[in-house]
């Protein structure tokens, strides 16, 4: 060991670049959690502590399943990246507050184990985990998932609440809809995290400010639904606003369609993806036999995402050869 003491320890050698951004996966996921807090508060306000119970259970199940599965498969532990927390929050936000609690782990199992981990973990899932969890629950337990809505009443427990229909169900039967202001603040029936437009828009603004998401997908998605409902209703602006504020449109457009793993990375791809989401949402809402189509629209576009991405590969800088002499001419002048 003696000769080693004379030897100077070597400096770290690594490939360039030698400086990196401070952003981390964990930081991004934390930002998404923060952005979801207003909607969570609104859910608790309108649907009572039952909403909180569903959310806590959903997050707990998602994190627990991920931790257990990584442990069982002897893979590095990844719950620290907080992506399972985001999935848990989003899954809960897509469930009615009245859902029997034992169904929540079923949704979490589908989301985390089947969709996310079995396909390779974070970044590898081909459809949105929370959304798929919701759809599996919706198709398996149709009554509990969409039959017994509570009219939000912040101070009542599930048993006391008045059963009612969601605005979209009301619209389907041409029953009177709640007022626009009521819908904007979230005083309407629906999944626990989707009702308060104000809170969702706040969260979206936060994500855009922190550059976690680009405004491209939410803007194109919501814009397409807006134009679609105007055309469908013969330019009835109240109908359009009702469409924008009802169902899971805002939650879906801001938080679910922007999922990195299941949306295209290219700019034009994002536009096509979001417009497609909007179109399918309109199709299901106006002509389908289900009142709500946001989940199915996003799921379908998730599946098309790799194809869209391949078709919208950006033009490499300097690749268009034919057009360029004009630049040289212009600068001569």
């Amino acid at each position: 060991m003696e000769p080693l003491q004379d030897q100077e320890p070597l400096a770290i050698v690594s490939a360039s670049p030698h400086i990196r951004t401070a952003r981390t996966t964990r930081g991004i996921m934390l930002d998404v959690c923060v952005a979801l807090v207003p909607a969570l508060l609104a859910a608790v306000w309108w649907f009572g502590t039952r909403a909180l119970m569903v959310t806590v259970l959903s997050v707990g199940c998602c994190v627990g399943f991920e931790a257990l599965l990584r442990l069982a498969r002897k893979r590095p532990q990844t719950v620290g990246d907080l992506s399972a927390v985001v999935t848990g929050l989003l899954l809960a936000f897509n469930l009615p507050a009245t859902l029997p609690l034992w169904m929540v782990p079923v949704g979490a199992l589908v989301a985390i184990v089947v969709v996310k981990q079995l396909f390779g973990g974070i970044g590898q899932n081909f459809v949105n985990p929370a959304l798929t969890g919701r759809i599996v629950l919706l198709l398996s337990f149709a009554t509990q998932m969409s039959g017994a809505w509570n009219l939000p009443n912040g101070h009542s427990w599930g048993a006391d609440a008045i059963a009612t229909a969601t605005p979209l169900q009301l619209a389907a039967t041409r029953a009177p809809m709640p007022g626009l202001l009521e819908m904007f603040v979230g005083h309407r029936a629906g999944s626990l995290g989707e009702t308060c437009a104000l809170a969702l828009l706040l969260g979206g603004a936060y994500l855009i400010t922190c550059k976690v998401i680009s405004p491209l997908i939410p803007a194109c998605f919501i814009g397409t639904v807006a134009i679609g409902s105007l055309l469908y209703s013969g330019f009835d602006f109240t109908f359009m606003l009702q469409q924008l504020l009802s169902g899971g449109l805002l939650l879906g457009a801001i938080f679910m369609a922007t999922d990195y793993a299941t949306s295209p990375v290219t700019r034009s791809g994002k536009v096509i993806f979001a417009v497609g989401c909007g179109l399918f949402t309109c199709l299901v809402r106006f002509w389908g036999n289900m009142p709500e189509g946001v989940s199915f629209a996003i799921l379908l576009m998730n599946l098309l995402s790799p194809l869209i991405e391949n078709c919208t590969a950006p033009n490499v800088f300097g690749e268009e050869k034919a057009k360029k002499p004009k630049g040289a001419k212009k600068n001569e002048a």
Partner: protein, 472 residues
């Protein structure tokens, strides 16, 4: 470059400090390959005495540049050394004789383009921006095909301030260099491109250009500064230090239309293709040289060297470098003999700790790391960064979350995340389809990745894989 590229901390700590000259050092190690092309063959014998500026190596190969002794002394040995990139390169080691004795030089006698190109070759100049392409070849390729000389003073890498200082301290020399190049290559106009974080240099150059070529039509490009209405350099010590003595000008040099172009300070603004696009709107076609669109981009340091060389005839034996980083006690710019060892350099600038945790030759974005202080400065080194442990430790790599940051950042509009996958699965077809060869290795993708993926390194390896598969 519009939206691509990245916003990074400039860390230009040394911008306000005038460079310090180090004329004497105990020994220099002159690598026989300090340029792109064929290595030089030593033309001196061990034990011989050389003067600074004397030829020590040259090559008959077309792509090469001669090498000159950077100090006076005795040839101690001619040996093969391993440089930080892992290559083994022949090197001539000169032990100083203590005297600072230069060979007699005279301004090159130039009467034709060919004379000029020969003189540039004899000077040993290579692209000082970092690429190290022999300048005489670059100029030869541009002669008669180019309408604009673009002088690159963008200096977009963090920490490095040598080009900034060159513009502040040697504005006249730069303008003279521009005139020589434009005269002998028949280029009607020149644009000096500078990032908007170097306002002092911008104003200084603006004044010098109008002084220098009162007859020439002066037209500054639309600049971000015009609105700020602050015609003086903002920091007072700049204006004090940046007032060189008025010099007598070479009357043989005719006036050229010289303009200034302001560039946003966004990395990699100084990269050749982005630089040309920002200043002229021209896009260099993939796989072609800038002459294809009629421009000749040159580093400001190279232009200044040519201006100086045409005055004195002294070849390329010293260069300015920025020494900075958390482990350096006195970050500064130093003008050093080519071939000085990092150990001597560190002794001069002082280290906070016993040893730096990371040693980088070049900027933090594109420079290479050296395991020890045995590395030496070559002609195309523009910085030495000595990082403290806190700066050297990078986040661990985790799984790609497909956030798309790398796609948004890539100035060449590539898809780094897909190139990485293609390399990892050794899919040469995909690498080709995704245009791996177009990557200029600026490092924006790796910088911006929240999962800390080694994207640019894998694309680099992918480029090599593609090349070797095409050779078969």
């Amino acid at each position: 470059m519009s939206k691509s590229g990245i916003q990074i901390l400039h860390n230009k700590h040394t911008r306000a400090i005038k460079p310090v000259r180090i004329d004497h050092c105990q020994r220099v190690t002159l690598l026989m390959k300090q340029h792109i092309g064929a290595p030089c063959v030593p033309c001196v014998k061990v034990g011989a005495h050389v003067l600074a500026g004397q030829l020590v190596g040259d090559s008959d190969a077309p792509v090469s540049a001669p090498l000159h002794a950077s100090i006076s002394g005795t040839i101690k040995k001619i040996d093969v050394v391993r440089i930080p990139s892992g290559e083994d390169v022949q090197a001539v080691v000169i032990e100083s004789d203590g005297a600072i004795a230069y060979t007699e030089t005279a301004p090159p006698h130039v009467e034709s383009t060919e004379d000029f190109l020969q003189a540039v070759r004899r000077s040993g100049l290579v692209g000082l921006g970092g690429a190290g392409f022999p300048t005489h070849l670059k100029l030869r390729g541009a002669a008669g095909k180019v309408d604009t000389l673009l002088v690159n003073a963008a200096e977009c890498e963090p920490y490095i301030t040598v080009d900034h200082r060159e513009a502040l301290d040697n504005a006249e020399i730069i303008l003279e260099g521009i005139r020589h190049i434009c005269r002998w290559l028949q280029i009607p106009r020149a644009i000096i491109g500078i990032e908007n974080n170097k306002k002092d240099a911008y104003y200084l150059l603006q004044t010098r250009i109008s002084d220098f070529s009162a007859s020439a039509q002066l037209q500054t490009q639309i600049s971000d500064f015009s609105a700020s209405a602050q015609p003086q350099p903002q920091t007072s010590d700049f204006s004090a230090s940046a007032q060189p003595q008025p010099q007598t000008l070479d009357v043989r040099v005719p006036a050229v239309d010289i303009k200034l172009g302001v560039l946003p300070s966004r990395y990699p603004q100084g990269a050749e293709k982005m630089f040309i696009h920002s200043l002229t709107g021209r896009v260099v076609p993939l796989g072609q040289l800038p002459t294809a669109v009629g421009v000749l981009p040159m580093n400001v340091g190279s232009v200044a060297f040519l201006g100086r060389y045409m005055r004195t005839g002294r070849p390329m034996i010293s260069r300015s470098i920025t020494v900075d980083g958390g482990a350096v006690a006195h970050p500064m710019n130093v003008r050093v003999p080519v071939g000085i060892g990092l150990r001597e350099l560190c002794a001069f600038c002082g280290l906070h700790n016993v040893r730096p945790a990371k040693i980088i030759l070049g900027g933090p974005m594109m420079g290479g790391a050296s395991p020890d202080l045995d590395a030496v400065i070559s002609k195309c080194n523009n910085a030495v960064l000595l990082f403290s442990a806190a700066q050297a430790n990078l986040k661990p790599e985790s799984a790609c979350i497909r956030c798309g940051s790398c796609v948004a950042a890539c100035p060449m509009h590539l898809q780094p995340l897909k190139l990485e996958q293609a390399y990892l699965s050794k899919d040469t077809e995909a690498l080709k389809k995704l245009r791996a060869a177009a990557c200029m290795e600026c490092g924006c993708c790796s910088y911006t990745c929240p999962a800390s993926r080694e994207l640019v390194q894998r694309i680099r390896l992918g480029k090599r894989l593609l090349l070797s598969s095409q050779k078969k």
